[in-house]
Symmetry: C2
Subunit: 543 residues, 2 copies
């Protein structure tokens, strides 16, 4: 009876593993891939999606088209039982759990992001891992330009036009480069923004950019970006982040409304919960790509720690987490699974890098291929040619080409809204920060989680100011819930403070459903303002 | 000193009014347009965006590019003071109100959607007014296909593959037609879905489709869709909607996970609050497009009721709410504002329709132009040619053409997630509906707003069933908040029931911020399950 091979994850490792396995085993094995999206993301193009030179839909290919003959299951992985050899998933809106069995399991779940170690970063930074991240970044940056063009407040404009990218590896450098080009080209549409008002800051913890490339190219890349006006801060980390600023480990505070974090890799929760031996958060596999701790479990790509020689110890002894290696790992893995099924001996993974390329945006790049180095325009052309040839799926190649063609003569500044979340959100403030001031639009009820704020309200009659301190567990800005859409008082953070913000309609909805919540607010509004509050009045969009 | 002309709304009426005014007055007037997006949506292409033949970004044009010399302000309109001649807006994340003054105000805010008159419809139907609506529809339909392809449950599959479109005017017919083509073409990627399993239902309250077109063409359109397997229900309205079904006024219950409502036009809140005379929810203007009730206020497009002759009374006596008319109204309006400024006499709006076109998808259409009627392929070609020529902005024309070209040989089934909302949501059930059953994934805590449900839990030891009735104000499914991600009991609706659902993480976040909410749940969990609940544990994505 045909062996069932189940692949978790549809990135470079997983998608190419599925392809190779299908090629080698054809109908002799049942191959299934589980992924949380129905498409394959060509990671190297994400910065271009974020900068709008390629539309999101045209930058990715449907897994079903790339993997004919492979069963594609768009689902969320809930748990893996390596004893029963069963993976439990939830698919679609369907809430009944679905069990998928396997004979061989391939774990290719890549890496997630965890920014929680830096105060405020997880709540205020954008990331660049997924297609949605890239779309969100583009919408966010255009929103800043729209705002900067029409605001009359210099401070707001300065913050809106300052963009911080954290991490200067491939992802950080390419994101910064593409972003810079996008903004340059957009300025024609924004008559009130001067080129000199744009500030792009690259913050790198290590002593150099592009650690993956030779020193000379890294230096060239840094110089190219600096010549274009970018600031590069080396040996610098992020100490904390808020909605309006970033504090570096060197003590500098940068006023900004845009923080893009390309750091903080972490294993996916599914991997963490599997009974597999891991090191540095990656699955420890042998040179045959077999995981330790469970039977018939294999792993490749960013989530696996793959030794390139016996008793590997140094960072350099292991396969780097790049697309180039993942694709080769996929070949070796398919070969070994076929061998394992046929009880033939397995081969160790061996591969030497063909080189590395990075785009710097604005038709500039750096590349090292087969020992030769390229820079500037040739390197950029090489970059595009290489990735175009590398891009799986004929259709995607065509559409990416056409997008580049369109982009050649003009780039759209259309701002398509990215996901928005109406739920509760945490916001961080630094001591002294303004939370809001009298006359501001009310965006919700605030509750202090930690720290403390100071509320000043001028008495309508006497005009004298009442000052009160609000600490953990206390709420403020609560007039909004009975429809007062403008703030009556001014609030500043007395310490580093974290608050929870609940939109007006959210408060009203929850009050219609949860009596204690409603009772609390009704009592509170009665005592504090003598108002009878009816939650139903709060339902409907804010104005 | 130059007159300041302020235009509210960047749709057909507003955008073309701004263009005409700029053309006529050049630098002699200061022209500003305020819109809540930074782009102009070519409404007739929305169904194609919803069906993925054109990507969202390529279907629209930046207002700033279309309106050189006009100040473009992306902002939310808060209020209009026609005495002080001031419009108050909120722009960007900036929470300070901004006041914009005017000498002449042009109101071109179109129409909004209000589905609240039909129980459940507002909470469970998709709409087709905005670009985001179109993107959401596409993502929603692809999600249904992905799910239908892999589910083992026939009932779930049937609901997933049934699509209801409410309203069979231009928007409804074109949406249905494009949707049908999209699904047909996508099926190649979904091996487990048979063409015969797809059900598309058009529900129209009136006795015929496409009321805007001659009977003969409407009949042809209906027949074309029926030949392609669509069901058309005439003289039928919607009585109620839930997440899994739609009930018609004729008493039929259709199991479906997709309801698209193209009905329910309503004036925008801003218009409602202005001191203007309105009729049938539209601003009553005179034949010169001047609004009654305020000085120097003009209106055009869908939000205006424009008489085409003296003492107009019949529906036919007023300008129809179509793009074609809006564009001509814009010309007349610009001419009249120029005349008003120069104290010259005003001209009445006069225009006779050149005809009407509708696409039926799959290379079929209907058209009536200059008295001639076209149908089938020629009409579809005419439709594309007409709208392409009508499309403002050279770049957009090119990109739309290239999209059509790409679409010619293949259409992507990539599902890009549309907005998602983590906030509280209302869900409606019909008496007898299953809410959830034991083993299901827990999606949140439920609270009964109206109606009643029945909860059955089998005792783990004895296996005997405890049955309880849960009514308004009571909650269920609360084990989820201490991390029990699978349901232990089965719940059915005893009556027509509305519940509020709060996601697990949302409950936890709110509990960290609002003590009474936390205390209530902590007490409740202790009493009901003897568990000490710590909200912090509930923060992080569900698994």
């Amino acid at each position: 009876m045909a062996q069932k091979i189940l692949i978790l994850g549809g990135g470079f490792g997983g998608m190419f593993a599925a392809r190779e396995l299908r090629k080698r085993l054809g109908g002799r094995a049942e191959i299934e891939i589980i992924n949380n999206t129905n498409y394959f993301v060509f990671q190297p193009l994400l910065p271009e999606v974020g900068a709008g030179s390629i539309t999101a839909m045209h930058a990715v290919s449907p897994l079903r088209k790339l993997l004919r003959g492979v069963r594609v299951r768009k689902a969320r992985i809930s748990s893996v039982d390596t004893d029963r050899k069963v993976v439990t998933v939830f698919q679609g809106v369907q809430r009944r759990p679905t069990e998928v069995t396997y004979d061989h399991l391939v774990v290719a779940l890549g890496q997630g992001v965890d920014l929680t170690r830096t105060p405020g970063l997880a709540d205020h930074a954008l990331t660049m891992k997924t297609l949605d991240d890239a779309r969100r970044l583009r919408a966010h940056v255009l929103e800043r330009l729209e705002h900067a063009d029409i605001t009359a407040l210099p401070e707001v404009k300065r913050e809106a036009l300052t963009f911080c990218i954290v991490g200067a590896g491939f992802s950080g450098i390419e994101t910064a480069g593409e972003l810079g080009e996008m903004i340059d080209r957009a300025l024609g549409d924004y008559p009130n923004i001067k080129r000199s008002e744009i500030r792009i800051v690259l913050i790198e913890f290590m002593g150099r950019v592009l650690a993956e490339l030779p020193e000379t190219l890294a230096t060239y890349a840094q110089k190219t970006l600096e010549d274009r006006g970018f600031e590069v801060m080396l040996n610098t980390g992020v100490k904390s982040a808020t909605g309006t600023s970033l504090e570096t480990t060197t003590g500098e505070i940068i006023g900004t409304r845009t923080i893009v974090a390309t750091i903080g890799n972490t294993p996916s929760p599914v991997v963490q919960e599997m009974p597999l031996e891991t090191r540095h958060g990656r699955i420890a596999v042998n040179r045959h790509l077999q995981a330790q701790g469970a039977e018939n479990v294999w792993s490749l790509g960013d989530c696996a720690l793959i030794p390139m020689k016996e008793d590997a110890t140094e960072r350099g002894d292991f396969a780097p987490p790049t697309a180039q290696f993942a694709v080769r790992e996929a070949r070796c893995l398919a070969q070994n699974i076929e061998a394992a099924i046929a009880c033939r001996p397995l081969q160790p993974f061996e591969y030497t890098s063909q080189g590395a390329l990075a785009s710097l945006g604005a038709h500039r790049g750096v590349a090292e291929v087969w020992g030769m180095t390229f820079r500037g325009y040739p390197a950029w052309l090489l970059w595009r040619a290489y990735y175009l040839s590398f891009l799986p799926g004929f259709r995607t190649r065509i559409t990416v080409l056409l997008n580049w063609f369109i982009d050649g003569f003009s780039r759209s500044t259309v701002q398509i809204r990215a996901e928005d979340n109406n739920g509760a959100r945490y916001v961080h403030y630094r001591a002294g920060d303004r939370v809001f001031e009298a006359g501001n639009r009310s965006d919700g009820v605030y509750s202090v989680i930690s720290g403390a704020v100071e509320l000043r309200i001028a008495d309508p009659e006497t005009g004298e100011e009442r000052v009160s301190r609000i600490g953990p567990g206390e709420i403020f800005g609560d007039r909004v819930i009975f429809g007062k859409m403008q703030r009556t008082g001014t609030v500043r953070a007395l310490e580093n403070t974290q608050v929870l913000v609940l939109r007006r309609e959210e408060v009203a909805k929850i009050a219609t459903g949860f009596a204690p919540f409603r009772d609390y607010f009704q009592r509170h509004m009665k005592e504090a303002y003598g108002v009878e509050w009816n939650p139903e009045d709060g339902i409907g969009p804010d104005r």
